[in-house]
């Protein structure tokens, strides 16, 4: 099916949820509100003419100061049978940083959602095991947010694990070869 038609189909079915449909280089993004994300995703997965059985990717984007709603959770869906693709973008405001999980529809969403939580701090309600995945458990902050510094000069506030490594390295200096 033509991707723009898919966008229109979603708009027809959920008129109050769809905020905009964009096209760029043949790829269509549908921007939606986050409240009914599960219903929309279930509709996309289970209606036979769409049949989006494959969740290619799930990630977050931070639009700090560029859009009214700060975060977007982006889903890339693909249909094995019909071979069409669509991008769903759900808006997640900063003061209510939560969205429903889709792990019960696609099991592959599990780690993607954990990663999104880890790097953006977006909470996926109903997720079976929402822990940090790439960063250590006691890490503070969410690095892919735009207000998180690329280089930090934290000093005392530096992550505990890194400080330990530095201490060990300092101690081991006594074993270093002295120049002759």
């Amino acid at each position: 099916m033509n991707p723009l038609d898919i966008g229109e189909l979603i708009r027809e079915r959920f008129p109050s949820e769809v905020k905009a449909v964009h096209e760029f280089r043949g790829q269509v993004s549908v921007i939606i509100k986050k409240e009914k994300i599960k219903d929309i995703m279930r509709f996309l997965k289970e209606s036979p003419e769409l049949d989006f059985d494959f969740l290619e990717d799930l990630c977050g984007v931070d639009y700090l100061g560029r859009k009214d709603v700060r975060f977007e959770v982006v889903y890339h869906l693909f249909s094995m049978r019909h071979r069409h693709m669509i991008r769903i973008k759900a808006e997640v405001p900063e003061d209510d940083c939560k969205i429903d999980t889709v792990t019960d529809l696609w099991k592959g969403a599990n780690w993607h959602e954990r990663e999104c939580f880890d790097l953006f701090g977006i909470v996926f309600t109903g997720h079976p095991d929402l822990r940090r995945i790439l960063l250590p458990e006691d890490w503070e902050g969410h690095p892919l947010r735009k207000d998180y510094p690329l280089k930090s000069d934290l000093g005392e506030l530096e992550w505990k694990g890194f400080k330990e490594v530095l201490e060990v390295a300092e101690k081991n200096k006594i074993y270093e070869m002295k120049g002759t």
């Binding site: 760029f24 280089r25 790829q27 993004s29 059985d53 494959f54 969740l55 290619e56 990717d57 990630c59 984007v61 931070d62 560029r66 982006v74 890339h76 094995m80 071979r83 693709m85 991008r87 696609w106 099991k107 592959g108 969403a109 599990n110 780690w111 993607h112 990663e115 790097l119 940090r132 995945i133 790439l134 960063l135 250590p136 690095p143 892919l144 998180y148 690329l150």
Partner: protein, 398 residues
């Protein structure tokens, strides 16, 4: 006596496999809860190699972010480079010339072979067939020498460029590669004679780590993992990039979705890659290796910069600001790297740096399926399962 035995307490034992375990192919850590030799729960821990590639790319121009992709899947860096370039080209709307497309396709398939060679060597080594490793690395050496011949690097190549490739291939390179393609099918047979009829190999791989087609799709698996379960999903066929629509090849699939079928799929893939390389050499068209609008995306040659003012301005702008013609928009572009589907999702805000670069790495998704494969099976099968998903942690942790 029996009464006594019955009163003995049984409890689960938790062991740590990794992060420094040779069979985990990197720094993967699995926490296994065992009941005797049976795995009750398997919890993978990843992230030991996290370098923040996505965050780093946001501060780099489109040109200087290319070497970051080398360090993702470091045994198939050429494939990552091509994937990155294809994604940026689609974002900017550039069309590389035919010759560059064929060269890239050729390099891509060389990478696939060299990656699968490492996989068969280490996978067999883990399961106990050591000899394969010694044979397979002989061919990998040949391919790495070829990479060195064309771009000077063996592992972190950074050879493709946005809009083409860095330099043209020589006749010497093509001759050596052609000789390789003549030789290689016999070498694949050599590996197969070592393990194909081997009873231990068959026992350790058949019926282990079974995934049905529906499950494989639901888990979002790609590459040989999904094809082993009988789904012919291949980005090269579904959404062709570079010269894949101009070469003839088949997509091998398995039936049972077990470790053995995925082994067969990858072996067959090597043969198909060999075919593609051969066709690329035979069909290689003459012409430029850079798109005509490439000065906007590629640094001009050094002697030009020193003599020509225009070239120097181009150089200055490209290094400090990046390509200025970036459109506002977003694009998801995928390529079929040896491990599966590598996707790049770019959000561009019209400046020379990507606003957001998301990497959909196949190893990350494949590592997430490990608990499903391992739970309920023996601890020895965990090793076979880690081998069959063929993960590289550099790509998984990004």
């Amino acid at each position: 006596m029996e009464e006594e035995l019955r009163q003995l307490e049984t409890r689960e034992l938790t062991i740590n496999m990794g992060p420094q375990h040779p069979a985990t192919h990197g720094v993967l850590r699995l926490v296994l809860d065992l009941d005797g030799e049976r795995v009750v729960r398997c919890t993978p821990h990843v992230g030991y190699l996290h370098r923040g590639t996505e965050k780093l790319a946001e501060s780099k121009t489109y040109l200087s972010a290319l070497p970051l992709t080398d360090r993702l899947d470091y045994i198939s860096s050429m494939a990552n480079n091509v994937g990155y370039c294809v994604a940026v080209e689609r974002l900017f709307g550039i069309e590389p010339p035919e010759r560059a497309k064929f060269i890239r396709t050729m390099m891509f398939e060389m990478t696939r072979i060299s990656s699968h060679i490492i996989w068969i060597g280490t996978h067999a080594l883990d399961i106990g067939a050591m000899t394969v490793f010694l044979y397979s690395f002989r061919e990998r050496e040949w391919l790495l020498d070829l990479f060195e011949m064309v771009c000077g690097a063996r592992l972190t190549v950074s050879y493709p460029r946005i809009g083409g490739v860095r330099n043209d291939v020589t006749q010497e390179f093509l001759d050596s590669l052609y000789k390789f393609t003549e030789e290689f099918p016999r070498r694949i047979e050599e590996y197969e004679t070592l393990i194909d009829q081997n009873r231990i190999w068959l026992k350790r791989t058949k019926g282990i780590g079974v995934l049905s087609a529906e499950e494989a799709i639901n888990w979002g698996l790609t590459g040989p993992m999904i094809r082993g379960s009988g789904v012919p999903y291949d980005v090269r066929k579904f959404a062709p990039y570079d010269a894949y629509d101009k070469v003839d090849f088949e997509v091998p699939t398995g039936k049972n979705g077990d470790v053995y079928d995925r082994y067969r799929v990858r072996m067959e893939e090597m043969r198909q890659s060999n075919r593609i390389i051969r066709q690329c050499i035979e069909k290689l068209p003459k012409g430029p290796i850079m798109a005509p609008d490439a000065p906007k995306f590629t640094l001009p040659p050094k002697d030009n910069i020193l003599r020509n003012m225009e070239a120097m301005i181009h150089h200055f702008v490209l290094v400090t600001k990046g390509p200025l013609s970036a459109p506002e928009g977003e694009i998801y572009s995928a390529v079929e790297v040896p491990k599966g589907e590598l996707g790049f999702y770019f959000v561009s805000d019209g400046t020379g740096r990507p606003y957001r670069m998301r990497l959909r790495s196949p190893s990350f998704v494949h590592a997430s399926v490990l608990p499903r494969l391992c739970e309920g099976h023996l601890i020895a099968d965990v090793i076979a399962n880690i081998g069959t998903i063929d993960i590289v942690l550099g790509e998984c942790d990004r």
